[in-house]
Symmetry: C3
Subunit: 352 residues, 3 copies
């Protein structure tokens, strides 16, 4: 697709300096842009790139407009980053809208229900009684189990697998390789040392506006539901065990694991590779550092934790800075012992 | 499917209080049950839910039967949790039995051998000389490489990939996204700084009654076999490197990684996000805490380890509780230094 | 396939002791070999297996040839391990060469461009404008997005997903379940507590001779490219975030995570389950221990780090060895306090 400065300026209510007919076909960072690219300048640290950039059009904040005439066509706005993000989101939406229809070589069970303007890619499998909402995009090689419900506008990337009875609400984005609704890890130890599988007959419920990163796994509940509430953002390779609940707008970085039945509050920020034991409850707005190990419930909102087992972040840093000097501390104690021994000897002498 | 109180009581030898014609179509926790649900009451802490539950049928232990008449139909048994688990397992088995036949749009090589009553889902690929046992269920989008053998009753969920020459024995459950038999991570450093791939020509052998969680990866051996012995249970997102051996009935939680050639004993319990270096041997019944880092062999059965590098759990906890107070200890040492200096001064004065 | 001692000796310029007509059909470790197997003996610790092995042919170093006549046919070379590796690589190459052609039930967009001798497995999806180089092998159930380019001889194992616009150069090996080009984890916090998705419109660029292990995820850049340079080897279940760059010949073990925009130097060695925060720069030849947490840039080549947060490895080990004895140190300090109190009392007495 090709856009003119004029059409872009119209979309974002900007003012053009230069030719309104300048055309762009791509988007780039200002320092890497070539002819035909749209860039933006929102950070004064990058001002000097204005003179060297090969970008054809640059969105620019009012206050950064240079006095001399420069090569790229400028579009002047109040907040060029916001304007840029708007354009990008728009162009992406246009792209996705193009996908629709049921591709050959997909399987849609005759008792599945499809909404309007649905896209089902080749080699995807839609099972009996699945309900797919309007405008849902299901890319190739996706598996949707029996009775699964998917809300409108949700995008399911290639290779996602959703086991039977799970629900995904509207406006979600599920990335490739995500597994939703596999069995929770539940086994009863037997007298002979073997383990008996506990059937996992619950499901997974994902509310609206959730995004889930590649190869993340979310297990179905033993009974009831594993629940991911609206607005939650999960990064790649995260493990969510059975019966976990994650409340609204919590953000979790890659490779974190949450064990069974743990409940995470609203608007928490959780770093990468963190781990949570099962059956605990984490207060709203808790902030967990990367690689932390959370072994007990957090009761106070706004708590910030680090370490494994984790405790309050600034306390952890203080302890850790002493840890780094433990060998010196070890030596100091040895010195103190010697000094005391000397003192004792002196005192003995004095007393004699 | 729909079940009556009478048919359920027959299956589990229970005694009905209420109408034998009460019907249920689903299973729920007693605190969440709606009309048409079967629940159970095995824990006295939940006794008060008996009066408020909307469940149509409740399985109940003899000793918990209330004196007054209540709304749900009761089925009285000795152990309602066990009876409930039996029903659930039965209903799940009935469900799985329904799947059989080769779906259209699957690929089965003409030189693959299929047992009786096999299910092969659409878009699954069964390669040359693969041998699939009786009653095996292979869901859609699975890849079975050349010469792979799969034992009877094993269930392979959507999207699993099994590379050539690997063997999976009977009664296993392999969850979505599991990769079995990808190349071990073996490279020889060259003089110019590049690495030469060492071909990985071994395989993976998985014995009977093993369950493997979503997106777990098990690499093939360089030579010989990576071996997962009978009864082992692996959770999601686990990494098993080439030539690892895991002995019978060991249970490993999510996101743990085991480096090459390490051998884990029988009946070990291994927490989530733990890591093992390569070429070590772990005794039977070893218990490894979450996020532990195991850097050397464990010789004694029943050892319990925590920390990274890991050591004995109670010792770790004692050290860690001091770690949390290291800044205070640091201050105490400074105090001691001052006190000693004062003592020395005093003693000097005294001696004068 | 079947090979004779004569044909093998020819390939590796070896000298035969025994029958040149001895045949082998498989490859085994010397201690496990059966009739029909080719083994090798490169380590004197295994010399005694020469008398018991059932291998039909053994490659052997000159200096290990026994004086008495033994059962297997021997092929004598200077370096039997190298000869063995050569044979194995050759046999693997022969195997892969056999795969070619477009299987039925694959989807290749009419505007995709395929090179010569390409293999596209069933249920694979090649999107519009994708460019697939000569001799590329794409196994079943792979997804190749729009405008993706794949260089010659690259092997893509079953189930890999490559999002639109990503580039993979020649001679790469991508293992099953790898996700390349999923959206980076970028969200802007809003006043109402929700998060706004930042569109990720960059791509992923993978240079030549890169190998990527199963279920590893590499996110596309926000703008620009996430870059994996030539010769990099990534193990399984690794997370590479948006805009990361990994320089030539760096090797990373399983389950490591690298946060956004971090740049890793050339020829680094990175252990398993390590984590890197975003926006840092790691010098060439840095060596990172398993489970380490890297929270700041590394400026000096050859730095070796361990711990979380990580610091210099030998210093970490010294601190950790004191950590293990912290309770004893705690007691020593209590003792010192008592001793000083006693001294003070004594000194008081003396002074009186």
């Amino acid at each position: 697709m090709e856009y003119t400065a004029k059409s872009i300026a119209n979309l974002i209510s900007g003012e053009i300096i230069g030719s309104p007919n300048t055309k762009v076909t791509t988007i780039s960072k200002i320092q890497e842009a070539q002819k035909g690219a749209l860039s933006f300048l929102a950070n004064p640290a990058y001002l000097n790139y204005l003179n060297t950039t090969k970008a054809s059009i640059v969105l620019i904040n009012k206050e950064f407009v240079p006095k001399e005439r420069i090569k790229p066509t400028l579009i002047v706005v109040d907040d060029s980053y916001k304007a840029f993000a708007t354009l990008v989101n728009l162009s992406q939406k246009l792209k996705n809208v193009e996908l629709s229809g049921i591709e050959n070589n997909s399987f849609v069970h005759k008792e599945a229900i499809l909404g309007e303007n649905v896209y089902i890619g080749a080699f995807s499998y839609i099972s009996q009684n699945a309900v797919i909402g309007d405008n849902v995009k299901i890319y190739p090689q996706v598996y949707i189990g029996e009775n699964v419900e998917i809300g409108e506008n949700t995008i399911i990337h290639p290779g996602v697998k959703v086991y039977h009875d799970c629900k995904i609400d509207k406006n979600c984005i599920i990335h490739s390789g995500v597994i939703i609704g596999s069995d929770g890890f539940g086994f009863a130890p037997q007298k002979d040392g073997t383990y008996l599988k506990i059937q996992q007959i619950g499901n997974v419920v994902i509310e609206e506006n959730v995004e889930i990163g590649s190869n993340t796994t979310i297990d179905r509940a033993t009974l009831g539901s594993t629940i991911i509430k609206s607005g939650v953002k999960l990064d790649n390779l995260i493990q969510i065990a059975h019966n976990v609940e994650i409340d609204q707008n919590t953000v979790i970085a890659a490779q974190t694991g949450i064990a069974g039945s743990t409940k995470i509050g609203k608007n928490c920020l959780i770093g990468g590779q963190a781990g949570f034991v099962g059956h605990i409850k984490i207060a709203d707005k808790t902030n967990i550092g990367a690689q932390a190990g959370i072994v007990k419930s957090v009761k106070n909102e706004g708590t910030i934790l680090l370490g494994s087992p984790a405790f309050e972040l600034t306390k952890f840093h203080k302890s850790y800075s002493v840890f780094k000097n433990l060998p010196e501390m070890r030596n100091e104690i040895e010195d103190l012992k010697k000094q005391i021994k000397l003192l004792e000897e002196k005192l003995g002498t004095t007393n004699k």
